[in-house]
Amino acid sequence: MIEVKDLSKNYGDRPAIRSLNFSVNRGEVVGFLGPNGAGKSTTMKIITGYMAPSSGEVKVAGFDVFEDPIEVKRRIGYLPETPPVYNDMYVRDYLRFVAKLKGVSKDRIESLVKSALDKTGLGDVQKRMIGNLSKGYKQRVGLAQALVSDPEVLILDEPTVGLDPKQVAEMRQLIRQLRGQHTIILSTHILPEVQASCDKVIIINAGRIVAEDSLTGLTKRMSGGGHSITLKVRRNQDEVVRSLTSIQGVVQARSSGRMIEVECDGDEATVERVASHVVGAGAGLIELQVQALALEDIFIKLTSKEMITH
């Protein structure tokens, strides 16, 4: 659906992105991840045809962004960092205006505006002036604006920025609902967002792609297959810690407060052995949690490694 080849962009002498290569398949939800200033917004702006790159090419649904910008723009719904709303317009009028601007045929405008309002939960405020809405609602109007032409591709630049926790949860829910109907690229520097909504992750740092994989693939690769297990027992904690080290596959076990942390290889059988050992010892197992390496750790590992090599 989206193909990016050797894409570079310089702002004056400063390179913003350097030969990016990736592709996104139809219906995928891709998380575009990176620290501030990594080049996420720049890449997205180029894909939408807002901005021309210094070199390289981008194809959306087979159309080259620079040769057929109009065809590409017809297929894209874009939510920039700041929602592009007119404060002196009513929500419904605004969405109608955007639909017309996107070239939606007359007979479909009303139904598409209605479905965008429904999807984003804006039905209650549709007759209010956008300038009087809260930040969260404006953000939703921005999303409705991206959805209103029913585009094949949705590009969302930090869709949850500035929202309260409840609104963030709602926004994620919404993105999950949109999965399958649209191909979505979503940029963020908030990691749980990616875990909550994306099939695939592209991590970008200092203008380069440092990792591109599915979420599970990435986790597996970065952790080298290792697990850590956290246990909580009712009694004999020290004894359990000592005996655990003798179990096959356990690398290390130590107490930390009322919890026991066990590092072991990635084999599920090891987890089973640990569990049955603790239960067999009669220590009163009340909690057991297996943790793969979290995305946070992967992210920090990848982006800081990159920093050092530059």
């Binding site: 939408t48 045809g49 807002y50 901005m51 021309a52 910008p69 109009i70 065809e71 723009k73 017809r74 894209i76 874009y78 920039p80 700041t82 929602p83 592009p84 709303v85 007119y86 404060n87 002196d88 317009m89 205006f97 955007v98 017309k100 601007l101 996107k102 070239g103 604006q145």
Partner: protein, 254 residues
């Protein structure tokens, strides 16, 4: 065409319902009412002493309407940039420019749509000023054709101001700067012909003479719709709309 009308109608409506337009049209009306009434009363006073056989010496067109129209023009030099300042500068400041640039429309359509919206609003304001001579028809008879020709001139010249104003607005994010730039460009349009009359460069002199906004406007006011004047004013409009289109297009390359 549909994209142009979408932009034009939205901006036309937003401008027409903005407090800015109310303030401007209100203040303009106050000024016009004052000076139009004064000119009309003066005319009535003087025509009372008119002797038979002097009809050719005095007419409404020359004594009253001309003054009115030159006052409309004077006001428009200042007022039109204020009306058009928001059209592109505000889009940039409010980040709604992103929406326009990622919509499946061309820079040309954006520029023309904005121009039509501005022209529409200025036409409404011109319409308000047209009420004065129209109401005078209840109390005096006068030929309509020269008045219409003069008003065609007003519309043509204000179309040039609108194109200039939109170009100024495209250059900056600040509406304040857009007004100032628009004003300066408008005044430049009026003063560019001052260079005419220098004898050592006859070609330059005659070109500058042709570019005199005042002369072309005068033709309309005197009831002569000349092709050269129409072509000149249309080219001024075309030129500034084209410049606006270039500026909008160039934002892609920055």
């Amino acid at each position: 065409m549909r994209a142009i009308m979408t932009i034009a109608s939205k901006d036309f409506r937003n401008l027409l319902t903005s407090p800015m337009f109310y303030v401007i049209s209100g203040l303009c009306s106050v000024l016009w009412t004052y000076s139009y009434l004064r000119a009309l009363l003066l005319f009535a006073e003087r025509s009372r002493y008119m002797q038979p056989g002097m009809e050719g010496g005095m007419n409404l067109q020359r004594e009253v309407f001309l003054l009115h129209i030159s006052q409309i023009n004077l006001l428009f030099v200042f007022v039109v940039p204020a009306l058009t300042m928001r059209l592109l500068a505000d889009e940039k400041r409010m980040r709604t420019y992103d929406l326009l640039l990622t919509a499946p429309i061309s820079a040309t359509q954006i520029a023309i749509g904005k121009f039509l919206a501005g022209l529409g609003v200025v036409t409404v304001l011109t319409g308000i000023s047209f009420l004065y001579p129209l109401i005078t028809r209840f109390v005096a008879e006068y030929p309509m054709a020269p008045l219409l020709s003069a008003y065609a001139g007003v519309i043509m010249v204000s179309a040039a101001y609108v194109a200039v104003g939109i170009f100024a607005s495209s250059l900056t994010e600040s509406t304040m700067l857009a007004v100032v730039l628009g004003l300066i460009f408008n005044i430049l349009l009026w003063f560019i012909s001052q260079g005419a009359g220098t004898d050592n460069l006859p070609l330059v002199s005659s070109i500058l003479e042709y570019m005199s906004l005042g002369q072309h406007f005068l033709n309309f006011i005197m009831g002569a719709v000349k092709v050269a004047s129409v072509v000149f004013l249309a080219s001024v409009v075309g030129f500034f709309v084209f410049l606006t289109q270039r500026v909008v297009e160039s934002s892609r390359w920055r």
